[in-house]
């Protein structure tokens, strides 16, 4: 690299900085937060991943090739198919069919790929009909075989010959929504108790802090299990879903309360709060109009960091058989199948929901870290 280009690059960088600085001078607080957040590359990448996961959760019926409950005993533990693009030199996306052979050593049925059978597939195909968000009837699927009766298992099949891809996609909706709704519930409890604790201090603060310490010192799994086991067996799945949400939130609120309390404590003595109070602003207005806006970003960070814990907790509960019950499909419910060692040696693709858990939890944690760092854009 020659001398002038280095000089030019340095000039350009300087100019960039100046433009940045002038733009930042008039930026809103959210603008500043976004500016700081963008520099955290891993967090930005995680934002994309999390966005994608929630997109999948939102459009689960459309993205899944079939209904998660559709079973076909002919394809028990069918291995994943791979997509081919060309047939005899012409463009035709397809998967290969299966043929079944008897393994002479173990006398088990094994699937082998049958190269002679091609199953044409396509995007936006017609398949099983479903009600999109319970609103309207349609049979459009993002991807699937052109002939819906043909086998199509991109991630293999489980012990009843159900499509793992469809089940994982539908599981995404349940697992991710448990995280989101559960945190919403924890947020309400955490904001109220944390707010009282931090704003009023004194006896209420001490009492709430003792309760939080106590809750945090109990091993969570036995407690959750105990509460979950007390649920009547005959409850319908939706009621179980909400009961699990409440059980998880009963413990999940403590971290949010801690963050809210800490912020209230430090804000309480700030000049603008004292000024507003001396001006005779009502307590409600003081909290909602003056203190809350500087809390939002911290709360968002706390929420983002709380969601993965909820997801992990739900997964563990459902895995042990005391959480959500089939026919509801969550990642934890899907992972129940991996408890059978024989099944996973025969069908390792049963682990795929586990990979989803790890990816979702990692992405949410990185995102939460990024938001937490950006939450206070004035800190160095």
């Amino acid at each position: 690299m020659s001398e002038p280009t280095v000089q030019a690059a340095a000039d350009a960088a300087l100019l960039d900085q100046q433009v940045d600085a002038s733009r930042l001078q008039g930026a809103s607080q959210w603008g500043l937060i976004w500016h700081k957040f963008r520099r955290h590359k891993l967090a930005v990448f995680s934002l994309v991943v999390v966005g994608f996961i929630y997109f999948v959760a939102l459009f689960a019926e459309f993205l899944a090739p079939t209904d998660p409950g559709r079973f076909d005993p002919r394809y028990t533990y069918a291995p994943p198919q791979s997509i081919g693009l060309f047939v005899d030199g012409s463009f035709q996306p397809h998967v290969k069919g299966y043929s079944i052979e008897l393994d002479q050593a173990s006398f088990r049925r094994v699937f082998v790929v049958d190269p002679d059978v091609t199953i044409p597939i396509g995007l936006f195909v017609r398949g099983q009909s479903y009600r999109m968000w319970g609103l309207f009837e349609t049979d459009l699927h993002f991807i699937g075989p052109l002939d819906p009766s043909q086998p199509f298992f991109l991630m293999g099949a489980d012990r009843l010959g159900r499509d793992m891809l469809s089940r994982t996609i539908h599981g995404t909706r349940i697992s991710m929504s448990i995280g989101l709704v559960g945190v919403g519930l924890s947020l309400v409890i955490g904001m109220i108790l944390g707010g009282i604790s931090g704003y009023y201090g004194g006896f209420a603060d001490r009492a709430i802090q003792r309760v939080i310490e106590f809750i945090r010192s109990i091993p969570t799994i036995p407690l959750w299990l105990g509460l979950a086991a007390a649920m009547p067996r005959e409850w319908p799945p939706l009621q179980v879903y909400f009961a699990i949400l409440v059980i998880l939130s009963l413990i999940g609120w403590t971290e949010i309360a801690r963050v809210v309390r800490g912020r209230f404590l430090s804000l309480r003595g700030d000049d603008f709060v004292i000024a507003a109070r001396l001006d005779g602003v009502s307590e409600y207005r003081l909290i909602m109009k003056h203190m809350m806006p500087s809390l939002y970003s911290h709360i968002i960070a706390a929420i983002t960091l709380a969601i993965p814990n909820m997801i992990l907790a739900e997964t563990a509960l459902s895995f042990l058989g005391l959480g959500l019950q089939p026919p509801i499909v969550s990642w934890g419910v899907l992972l129940q199948d991996t408890q059978n060692l024989r099944a996973i040696t025969q069908a390792p693709w049963l682990f795929i929901p586990g990979i989803c858990v790890v990816v979702a939890v990692l992405a949410l944690n990185f995102l939460g870290d990024g938001v937490r760092d950006a939450a206070d854009p004035y800190a160095k």
Binding site: S217, P222, L225, A316, F319
Partner: protein, 328 residues
């Protein structure tokens, strides 16, 4: 020091009381009283129900009286006679079932805790001293992965790998010939060869976060003037770091027991269910599924007590390492 320990033990009593109330609430949660459930179970299996026995059970647990009386009958039995009630599923006093299992859980948790400290302390120190080195990055990545992987998944993956590649199944804590054998060196060795697998699985997540804690603590200390001063006086680097900043950074590290131990016991319950270890986990799960609530309640009470004892020990350790705490 003696007074300090005494004060701490006195401070445990309200917490223990709260845990016992919680455990009893869980015992009470399933609909219907357990003697009726028990009678229904007996009738279902065709056994003739002895109404005198049922009556004595009702009397013993104070059924029909108010909840507070029932609670005091239950906790009174535990405190005075060590009587946790009967397990209806096993038809045995709970006491005969819990202690062995709970002891194993305590042992595994303690060994895991020691292993976690032994691993995370040196790595944490190294990570802080050589910040942004390859080892630091590897430790960080390992840390995040360990945090994001549910430990039951880790257990299953490990079982899968050992079955696929080594052809041996992991699981259990003893070889069959040692299960009922009396304690001997051979049995202890057999235990060690089995126990490292659950310890490895349980320790991964905690080790990961402990490394982060140690690294952050030490990084806060490393650039303080007293370190600079010692270095300027020509103190050898290794001795310098181990003598001064590490000792300061150690205090928050010791107090992590408060949240590591509950997580450890929680994790132990799941992992031991997957690996089928003779610890509290599988029995608790079984008890909860069949709503054998006295057994389940005993486990919940004892695991809470285990955390309290662990926290007490860490407080004592903290007081030994930091005189400011025991003197204030």
């Amino acid at each position: 020091m003696f007074l300090f320990v005494l004060r701490r033990i006195a401070g445990m009593i309200p917490a223990m009381f709260a845990i016992s109330i919680l455990a009893y609430t869980i015992i009470q949660l399933p609909p219907g009283d357990f003697v009726s459930t028990y009678a229904a179970q007996l009738a279902e299996s065709g056994t003739i129900v002895d109404s005198a026995r049922l009556e004595s059970l009702r009397d013993r647990y104070g059924l029909g009286q108010d909840v507070v009386t029932q609670y005091f009958k239950w906790i009174g039995g535990i405190v005075t006679r060590g009587d946790f009630g009967d397990s209806f599923e096993w038809n045995q006093p709970v006491t005969e079932l819990v202690w062995d299992r709970m002891g194993m859980t305590a042992l595994i948790s303690l060994l895991t805790l020691i292993a976690m400290w032994a691993v995370s302390l040196p790595i944490g120190i190294y990570s802080a001293v050589r910040q942004y080195s390859v080892t630091d990055y590897v430790a960080t990545i390992f840390g995040f992965l360990g945090m994001a992987t549910p430990n039951f998944l880790l257990a299953i993956v490990l079982m899968y790998i050992s079955t696929m590649w080594f052809g041996a199944s992991v699981g259990g804590l003893f070889s069959p010939q040692f299960v009922n054998a009396p304690l001997s060196w051979a049995k202890i060795w057999d235990f060690i060869t089995h126990a490292w697998i659950p310890i490895l699985i349980l320790g991964t997540a905690g080790t990961a976060s402990l490394i982060r804690v140690m690294r952050a603590n030490l990084l806060d200390e490393l650039h303080k003037p007293y370190v600079e001063a010692a270095r300027a006086k020509g103190m050898p680097e290794t001795r310098l770091i181990l003598t001064y900043p590490t000792r300061v950074a150690l205090n928050p590290f010791i107090s992590t027991v408060g949240w590591v131990l509950p997580a450890l016991i929680s994790g132990e319950l799941i992992v031991s269910t997957v690996l089928n270890l003779p610890t509290a986990g599988p029995l608790l799960l079984q008890a909860l599924k069949s709503q054998d609530m006295f057994l389940a309640g005993a486990f919940i009470l004892l695991s809470g007590a285990l955390v309290l004892i662990g926290t007490l020990i860490s407080d004592i350790l903290l007081a030994i390492s930091d005189p400011r705490i025991r003197l204030s």
